[in-house]
């Protein structure tokens, strides 16, 4: 099976309220899957389940052929799942470059043993890491800011940094939670171009977004979420035409929020 990420009948409730109900889908290699739906339909919970911050009540999550359902978030990150949070979390106490370095470091590099005994290896690694960091900062357009404190970045720049951190980690599967929300037109276009480039890099991506134009532009396939469940799944082009479907989802749901 060439599915890079698979969800099998995943369900999750919080205090009696079903946040995600019986969701199954698979993501193919180098595919871009758009997830749309009204607020509160369970999309972020879905991401939490895939990245490991929430464990489902029922169902499985598979990365390739590996069952990761019970795996801790940091371990999933280690085998290729990358997550962009809705509020673009970065490390505010460090500089942009340091953020990029810490994103690349692995457990071995961070061990105490290495800190004390493998100095020459560490300096070689650092040279590589700096090169990687600068490459991806350039890719997202943040080269100018490499020494700035992450705290001083604008909201859009923080998102770019967060994306760069995912890229430098070389994650296979990227989960992007509302990558363009709160950004101005110019930034949106930067991110749009970036997201399109991701496919050429061979990444498999799941995007949650409210901007339907954006989602239909970048996605190969679309899943429409409603009330915690999969309302519809189909190719982007077809779904785009199905305006009556979209109206039904956004206007008739119990959380009517038209984006």
């Amino acid at each position: 099976m060439n599915s890079v990420l698979t969800l099998e009948t995943v369900s999750k409730s919080f205090g009696g309220v079903a946040a995600v109900r019986d969701v199954s889908f698979s993501l193919k290699d180098a595919e871009l899957l758009g997830v749309i739906g009204p607020n509160g339909s369970g999309k972020t919970t879905l991401f939490n389940i895939i990245s490991g911050f929430v464990k489902p009540d029922v169902g499985r999550v598979l990365l390739g052929a590996v069952d990761v359902t019970k795996l801790a978030p940091y371990k999933r990150a280690g085998i290729g799942i990358g997550r962009l949070f809705q509020d673009a979390r970065v490390f505010s106490g460090m500089s942009v470059l340091e953020n990029m370095l810490v994103a690349q470091q692995d457990e071995h590099e961070e061990s105490l043993f290495t800190a004390f005994l493998k100095w020459s290896w560490l300096s070689k690694r650092k040279v590589e890491e700096l090169a990687n960091a600068r490459y991806w900062l350039e890719f997202v357009g943040l080269s100018m800011k490499e020494d700035s404190p992450a705290l001083s970045l604008s909201y859009g720049e923080t998102k770019l940094l967060a994306i760069a951190m995912l890229l430098v980690r070389d994650s296979k599967v990227l989960l992007l939670d509302e990558p363009i929300s709160g950004l101005d037109i110019k930034m949106r276009e930067s991110i749009l171009r970036l997201v399109k480039k991701l496919k050429t890099l061979g990444k498999s991506v799941v995007i949650i977004e409210h901007s339907l134009d954006f989602v239909f532009d970048v996605s190969d396939r679309i899943i429409i979420f409603k009330d915690g469940g999969k309302f519809h799944e189909g190719l982007a082009d077809e779904t785009r035409q199905a305006t009556s479907l979209l109206r039904e989802v956004y206007l008739n749901s119990s959380h009517a929020t038209v984006s």
Binding site: G15, S51, F53, F85
Partner: protein, 296 residues
């Protein structure tokens, strides 16, 4: 262990526990509503105790006036810490470590001030506490009786207030979801003030009972607030009433353990219990096991 001894220990435990319960309820109100670890609750306790003591011994106030002094003093200190320290930190969304340390710092400043003003030695109330009551062979001092009556009255008032009044229901709403409460138009600032005032009054009542019972020294507040913290965790953080239960249980623990073990191990036991609850039942005895909402 004879029935009489058992009953005596039980009564002593409940009497001590009643003071713990009252103070802990005050702490729980503040913690539940504002999520602040209000260490300064301890100094509210201490200052109230000293004001009460001075009112009676130095100023010869009649009892009710002395109690009023203690209560007003307590509320004053509590409200002041909210206005001067916690509110500004709340407004700028400060890290909880900052609030905790500020509270601790205020406690330290005021405690040492109290020590300078009132002296480091223990002072007692030479009151008329010769009165004691005997029920079937079990002795109860006047202060102990007063404590038990107070905790019953306070518990009943608490239950009624929180189930039936708007004030109580609003506080419950604020404590379960502070953000939502603000969004739906509850005046958080006003309620914070009220909660600090009320919580501090409770601390004051507990302090005055304790002064009448065993006297006071500058350090009593710290033990009081530590017990309150343990009582709240043991009883249950979500439910204010849990603090009352926690306080009573700790009183009983103190009473019974001093029978079995030397009293020098009491503090250690209390904190082992705290640790146990933090690790294995952080929601407390009365709390509902809440599934951790997604951390992200």
């Amino acid at each position: 262990m004879g029935v009489r001894v058992l009953s005596q220990l039980l009564l002593n435990g409940l009497a001590a526990g009643s003071i713990f319960a009252i103070v802990s309820l005050g702490f729980a109100l503040v913690y539940g509503t504002t999520r602040t670890l209000h260490i300064a609750h301890g100094i509210v306790y201490t200052i109230s105790g000293y004001l009460f003591l001075s009112a009676i011994t130095s100023f010869q106030f009649p009892l009710f006036l002395a109690i009023l002094t203690g209560v007003v003093g307590a509320a004053g200190v509590g409200v002041l810490t909210e206005l001067v320290i916690y509110r500004p930190l709340f407004k700028r969304n400060a890290h909880s470590a900052i609030t905790l340390i500020s509270s601790l710092g205020i406690y330290i400043i005021l405690q040492n001030l109290a020590a300078i003003v009132f002296g480091n030695q223990t002072r007692i109330l030479n009151y008329h506490t010769a009165n004691a009551y005997i029920f079937g062979g079990v002795v109860l001092s006047e202060v102990q009786l007063l404590g038990l009556v107070s905790v019953i009255v306070i518990t009943l008032s608490y239950s009624v207030t929180f189930k039936y009044t708007r004030f109580g229901k609003t506080l419950t709403a604020i404590s379960s979801n502070p953000l939502l409460a603000e969004v739906i138009g509850i005046d958080i600032k006003l309620y914070r003030l009220m909660v600090f005032a009320l919580g501090s009054v409770l601390a004051g009542i507990g302090a005055m009972l304790s002064v009448a019972d065993v006297g006071i020294d500058p350090n009593v507040g710290f033990s009081a607030v530590l017990i309150a913290i343990v009582a709240v965790i043991v009883g249950g953080v979500r439910n204010f009433g849990g603090a009352i239960l926690g306080g009573l249980l700790l009183g009983l623990l103190q009473s019974f353990s001093s029978w079995v073990l030397s009293s020098r191990w009491q503090s250690a036991i209390v904190f082992v219990i705290l640790t146990t609850f933090l690790l294995f039942r952080p929601e407390g005895l009365l709390g509902v096991r809440m599934r951790l909402e997604e951390k992200a």
